[in-house]
Each structure stands twice: as structure tokens, then as C-alpha cells.
């Protein structure tokens, strides 16, 4: 199990770096496009490329954001409970999250497959968009595995108390 955690942690870390590169890339591309347009040489398909990079940046940040607890939650009530009760509540919500993101991962893969079968290509660049959707599904898979890891940790915490 230790190796599993290490691999997931490693992938999540690499995804974060790749996401940051996409973010820097979309900024640069948009700026170059603006300057290019000024000289009547806009970059062809830049809107599509920026959207793809933004999609990848956000999807790749999913595991990292969950790990650093970057999402907003309403803490006000749970904070009043004992550590053990808090851990039990966290376990329940983690299981619910697992259920949700496992379904989303599965459906995203199905969605990518449907688009692939339909042979849909992006409008300007004729890029096979299903590749991006598969990449999003992969990020979601890693995210789901991180939630499983969370659940394992919370159970461990409950056992020691």
C-alpha cells in the first residue's frame, strides 16, 4: 500500500507542474495573439488552444487542490465536535465524495469515447478533442484515488483513537 501512495503522490505532483506549465502557456499564447493581432497576424486557433490549456490546467490541479484542502467548506458546526466525531464525519463525507468522483470519472471516459466514435474534431484546428477529455478523465481518476487514500488515513486515525 505504501508503494501505491508513493506513485499517486508522484503523479499528482507531476500533474501540478504540468498544470502550471499550461497556465503559463495560455498566458503567453494570449499575449502573443494580442500583439500579433495588432500587427494583423493573429494566431490561428488561439481561442481553442487557450481553452484546451485552461481545461488541462484546472483538471490537473484537481488532486493537488484536494490534497491542500483548497476547497471551501462550512466549518462552523463541525469545529465544535470532538476530534473523534470530526473524523467520523470526515469519513462519511469522503465516502460520499468517492462515490461522486468515481461516477464522474466513469462518465467522463464514456463521454470521451462517444466523442471519439462520433469522429468530432474542434472547429478551427480540427484537433481530436476527445484526447483532452480522456486527459481530464485521467486527472479525475488520480483525484478519485487520492480520495481513497484519504479514507484509508481517516480510518487509521479512528483506529488509533
Amino acid at each position: 500500500m505504501h508503494a501505491f501512495e508513493k506513485i499517486i503522490g508522484w503523479i499528482s505532483d507531476k500533474l501540478k507542474v504540468a498544470g502550471a506549465l499550461c497556465l503559463a502557456g495560455m498566458t503567453l499564447l494570449t499575449c502573443v495573439d494580442v500583439v500579433g493581432r495588432f500587427f494583423r497576424h493573429p494566431i490561428f486557433g488561439s481561442v481553442e488552444l487557450v481553452s484546451f490549456m485552461a481545461t488541462l490546467a484546472v483538471a490537473m490541479a484537481l488532486p493537488y487542490t484536494h490534497q491542500v484542502k483548497g476547497h471551501i467548506g462550512v466549518e462552523i458546526l463541525v469545529r465544535m465536535f470532538s476530534d473523534r466525531t470530526q473524523a467520523i464525519i470526515d469519513l462519511c463525507t469522503a465516502i460520499l465524495s468517492l462515490f461522486l468522483f468515481a461516477i464522474i470519472t466513469w462518465r467522463m471516459t464514456v463521454y470521451a469515447h462517444t466523442i471519439q466514435d462520433a469522429g468530432e474534431l474542434s472547429i478551427s484546428l480540427k484537433f481530436p478533442e476527445y484526447l483532452i477529455i480522456y486527459a481530464v478523465a485521467f486527472c479525475l481518476l488520480i483525484f478519485t484515488l487520492i480520495i481513497i487514500q484519504d479514507i484509508r488515513e481517516t480510518i487509521g486515525k479512528l483506529k488509533t483513537k
Binding site: 471551501i72 460520499l96 464522474i104
Partner: protein, 437 residues
């Protein structure tokens, strides 16, 4: 079971699950998905889930969010805040309460390159608190001015809340941005008046600081000039229709980078940190939008938004009474929940009501931001208060939560006065956007 009853059950379940501190975005997605599946079919619910999330992630209109967040993060990590503060300090520092006035002015100026309220509060607390401590300012005034001033970052464009509002209600982000400029200046002035009155009643709250010569003051304007140049480039480009919001944000990122490069104040570590922080915040915001979209689809099929609009219409109350009730709901909601999440959650319900009453959607957007601005400084959830509390511990050895909340009171009154002025004189908001295109 009628669709409306199913909708109400959905909302109740959602509120209960919120209290488990499960991320708001996850809860909205799961309740929206289950509710939609119940109402239409399991298959339709599953299709909605993947398609909606992918559409939100890949929407070109939303690419402006990570870019504006990046612009704010770079400004945060490159010391621009310090220079803005120094300029404001040279002009206002010598009057009674002048340092606090300089702080709120600097918050507005920093808000012009940063779209987040807690980020503005954290930045200005780091710079302003030690200075105010040095001049023996009372903890209340010092902490109150940074926590409240931080909220100005949200009203002054660029503002993440306004982008999200614009996307959800299909309003022009450019118009929303320029609409925020005058209200932000108005609130800044009201804050300055509040500080003046506070120090007039109890002078020991904010003793005067040192006086600078006009030569030094004028020289310091150069520092403000850089930020102003970036702001004018971004907002001016949006205003005259030269850029799309995404392009304006990218140009803004480039502008802040150029300024930090010339000043040699952004380290490589600072740059990388800005990228990672941006990823985290953007992912949080985008997942919230995805959740709100899924939940909004569920609400739409239950017809709750339409029913609420016609139900309220049936009371035959004057529009301003209904508006007052809506504002009150936002105020109370903002006390318990993060501003952005609360806006996203309630927009599908209140927006049809507001437009059916004949209010301008751009005006309503600014009013909502103003109200949620009160939410970020009021107990029990006031995020800026906790941000300032955290920073104060690091930079001035701690300020009690009680002092911060007490210090906020005059500013809260100022925001309420500002809100009343903007309701009575909507032209302050609508004047600039009406000049566009």
C-alpha cells in the same frame, strides 16, 4: 410528488450536508446530480454530470478566471503592495488616523490589480499592521482598516466574484468591471470619513505619523504610476473593446510581470509560488462553478426559480422592499458562507426575481458584491477577519479576534451607508458601463 417539493427537499438536504464541512462544490454537484436524475432519469443525470463539468472546464469565457487570479498572485508576490502603501502613506500619514486612511486607499489601489478580498487583506495586513503598530495605533483601528479594506479588493475591478456573476447571468464582464470603479472609490472615501470620525472622537486610536515634503510625495507617485499604467491598460482595453476579458487578463499578467522585472522584485520562487497558488484557487473556483451549474440545472427543472419569482410578485410589495429582503438574505448568508459560494448558490433563484422587478442586472451585480463584502468582515465566518488575525500573529505578535471585530464596526456602518447611496443613486454604478460600446 410535485417538482417544487422535490426541489425544496434538495435544498434542505444540501444545507444539511453543507454543515458537515464537505466542500460546497462537491455538495452542490452531488445534490444537483441526484435531484436531476430523480426528476428526469438516471441516464439524463449521468449525461448531465460529465458534459456539464467538461463544458465549464473548457469554456473560453471562464479562462479569464485563472488569468486574473494569476495577475493578483504575481502582484501579491512581487512587493507591488509595499510601494503602493508607501505612496499613500506619504500623502495621508501625517493626519490623525492617516495611516489607517493610507491603508484603505492602498487596498483600493492594490485591488486594481488583484481580484480577491482575502488576498488584498493579507497583503495589506503584512505591510500596514507593523507601520500602524510603530505609530501606536490602537489594535482595533489598525486591524479593522486592513480587514475591511481587503473587501475593497473585491469591488474594485478585476474581481473574481464579478466574473462569476457575469458568467452565470450572461452579463458583460467588461461592463461589470467598469461599473465597480466608482462604487469602490465611494466606499474608500466613506472608509476615510469613518476613520476621521473615529479618530476625532478618540484621538488615541490613531495618532498622526511623520510629515513628508511635497518633493518626496510627488516622487513617490512614480511607484503608483506603474500600477496605474497596468490598470489603465487592462480596464481601458476592456472599456473601448480592444480586448476580450481573457486577453485583458493575460495583458495584465504580462504588465505585472514587466513591472516586477524592472523593479527586480519577483524571485523565481515567487513566480512558481504564484503559479501553484493560482492553480489551487482557479481549480476551487471552477469546481464551484461546475457544481453551481449542475445544481442550477436541477433547480431549473423543479421550476423553483420561476415559482419564487411569481410567488414574490404575488405579494404586491413595492420593489424596493423585495430588494431589501434579498439584500438581507445575502447579508445573513454571507455571514455563514464564503461570498463566492453563496453568490453562485443563490443567483439561479434571485436573478429572475430581480430582473422581473425591472432592476438593472449590472447594478444588481455590484450591489451583491457590496453586500457580500459585509459578509467577509462580519462574524462568525468573516474570512478577512481570520486572515488578518493570522497575519497579525506573524507580523505584530497578535491582535485578539474581539479587537478586530470591534474595529470593523465603523467600517460596517460605512459600507451600509455606501449601499444606501448606491440604491438611491444607481447612476453611480451605471454611468460608466452605459458609456461603453
Amino acid at each position: 410528488m410535485s417538482p417544487t417539493i422535490i426541489g425544496i427537499i434538495g435544498i434542505i438536504v444540501m444545507v444539511i450536508v453543507f454543515l458537515s464541512r464537505m466542500p460546497v462544490a462537491y455538495v452542490m454537484t452531488i445534490v444537483g446530480f441526484l435531484g436531476f436524475s430523480w426528476m428526469i432519469s438516471g441516464h439524463a443525470g449521468l449525461a448531465l454530470l460529465s458534459r456539464n463539468i467538461y463544458e465549464v472546464f473548457s469554456s473560453y469565457g471562464l479562462t479569464t478566471i485563472p488569468l486574473f487570479i494569476l495577475m493578483g498572485q504575481l502582484a501579491f508576490n512581487s512587493g507591488i503592495s509595499r510601494r503602493i502603501y508607501d505612496t499613500a502613506y506619504k500623502y495621508l500619514g501625517s493626519t490623525r488616523g492617516g495611516l489607517a486612511m493610507a491603508t484603505v486607499s492602498a487596498c483600493t489601489a492594490f485591488g486594481a490589480v488583484c481580484g480577491s478580498s482575502p488576498a488584498t487583506a493579507a497583503t495589506m495586513a503584512t505591510v500596514g499592521l507593523p507601520e500602524m503598530k510603530r505609530y501606536n495605533y490602537a489594535d482595533e483601528l489598525a486591524a479593522g482598516s486592513v480587514a475591511s479594506g481587503g473587501g475593497l479588493g473585491m469591488i474594485m475591478p478585476p474581481s473574481v466574484v464579478l466574473i462569476v456573476y457575469g458568467v452565470l447571468t450572461e452579463q458583460s464582464i467588461g461592463k461589470l468591471f467598469v461599473a465597480g470603479i466608482f462604487p469602490a472609490i465611494l466606499v474608500t472615501l466613506l472608509f476615510i470619513i469613518a476613520i476621521y470620525i473615529r479618530c476625532y472622537i478618540t484621538p488615541e486610536q490613531g495618532p498622526p505619523g511623520e510629515t513628508f515634503s511635497w518633493k518626496e510625495r510627488i516622487r513617490s507617485l512614480v511607484y503608483l504610476g506603474e500600477t496605474l499604467a497596468v490598470f489603465i491598460l487592462v480596464m481601458g482595453g476592456l472599456f473601448v473593446g480592444l480586448f476580450t476579458p481573457t486577453e485583458a487578463a493575460a495583458v495584465g499578467v504580462f504588465g505585472v510581470l514587466a513591472v516586477s522585472f524592472i523593479r527586480r522584485q519577483l524571485t523565481w520562487q515567487g513566480f512558481v509560488k504564484s503559479l501553484f497558488e493560482t492553480l489551487r484557487t482557479s481549480c476551487m473556483v471552477m469546481l464551484l462553478i461546475a457544481g453551481a451549474t449542475v445544481f442550477g440545472k436541477f433547480l431549473a427543472v423543479t421550476r423553483i426559480p420561476f415559482n419564487v419569482a411569481s410567488w414574490i410578485g404575488g405579494f404586491d410589495l413595492p420593489p424596493f422592499v423585495i430588494m431589501a429582503i434579498i439584500i438581507f438574505v445575502y447579508f445573513v448568508g454571507g455571514c455563514f458562507m464564503d461570498a463566492l459560494a453563496f453568490v453562485m448558490l443563490t443567483i439561479p433563484i434571485f436573478f429572475p426575481v430581480v430582473t422581473s422587478l425591472g432592476y438593472d442586472p449590472i447594478w444588481f451585480g455590484i450591489i451583491i458584491v457590496m453586500v457580500t463584502e459585509m459578509g467577509v468582515i462580519t462574524p462568525p465566518v468573516g474570512i478577512n477577519v481570520y486572515v488578518v488575525y493570522g497575519v497579525a500573529e506573524r507580523v505584530v505578535g497578535g491582535i485578539s479576534l474581539e479587537s478586530i471585530f470591534k474595529g470593523i464596526l465603523p467600517f460596517l456602518v460605512a459600507v451600509i451607508v455606501g449601499l444606501i447611496i448606491l440604491i438611491v443613486l444607481p447612476q453611480i454604478i451605471l454611468f460608466l458601463p452605459n458609456l461603453m460600446y
